[in-house]
Amino acid sequence: MHRFANPAQFNRLADAILPWATGAFVLLLGAGLYYAFFDSPPDYQQGESVRVMYIHVPAAWMAMFTYMVMAVASFTALVWRHPLALLAGRAAAPIGAVFTALALITGMLWGKPMWGTYWVWDGRLTSVLVLLFLYLGYMALWQAIDEEEKAGRAASILALVGVVNIPIIKFSVDWWSTLHQPASVMRLDGPTIDGSMLMPLLLMAGAYQAYFAVVFLWRMKLEINRRKLAVARQVSMHAPVGAE
């Protein structure tokens, strides 16, 4: 039962943080949406479609941030065998997958009016697509192995191999697209961003970060519960009758 001492502490900490994170999310989202729609100018080139940026860029940032959370959790789980770390990786993965999918979808919807096409095989899009595959692979591996502890550590190994690969993939596809495509693809980081657009962007990024904190803590508590239930089931199966 010593393993529960830690999670109990974690649950208390989570319960202390959750109201603040929820409050921060509501405030940041409200302010962010207000600035995004009412207090920022349309772009002189992109017009009103630039407003997609305020949800696209935060999603892309969070997609990478969440993978780093997952990777650090995996490393901690493999090296120090911390029982909560395995659960942290598992809790983070679906959130990261959703952020990644949203970064791709909003990017496509922004790309269609700007580039004239939903999809180009440019470096950024391709490497984010690979990131989505890594998330899906991580979750599939958790699902595929029955024994939770083993499943988690196998998925952790995969997450760490993915970490090594992400910069390589990023670098290779950047290089690849410049080989095959002339500079027809508009660079997002081309024009330096104006303060009036930076404000809503940062507010929305903050809102996404707070959203992550809230849902991540919920999912951590959920994973702790699931682990407790699994252990309880095992105990009741193996313990001789009346031994408790």
Binding site: V52, I55, V98, L109, W218, N225, R226, L229
Partner: protein
């Protein structure tokens, strides 16, 4: 208002992007919350059963 909704002619793209994001994020939050509640109850039930046994 109509002008605001039309988003300078980009309405379908802008509102689809916001709509999809909102839908996905709400779905993830709600389903996480729901699963958490269910497991909370299951843990409570297991604890009560154990207390009943002893």
């Amino acid at each position: 208002m109509a002008e605001f909704l039309s988003m300078g002619g980009y309405a379908s793209f802008v509102w689809t992007a916001y709509g999809t994001s909102a839908a996905a994020l709400v779905w993830l939050a709600v389903s996480s919350r729901k699963q958490l509640k269910e497991t909370n109850e299951a843990v409570e039930a297991a604890r009560a059963r154990r207390r009943g046994d002893s």
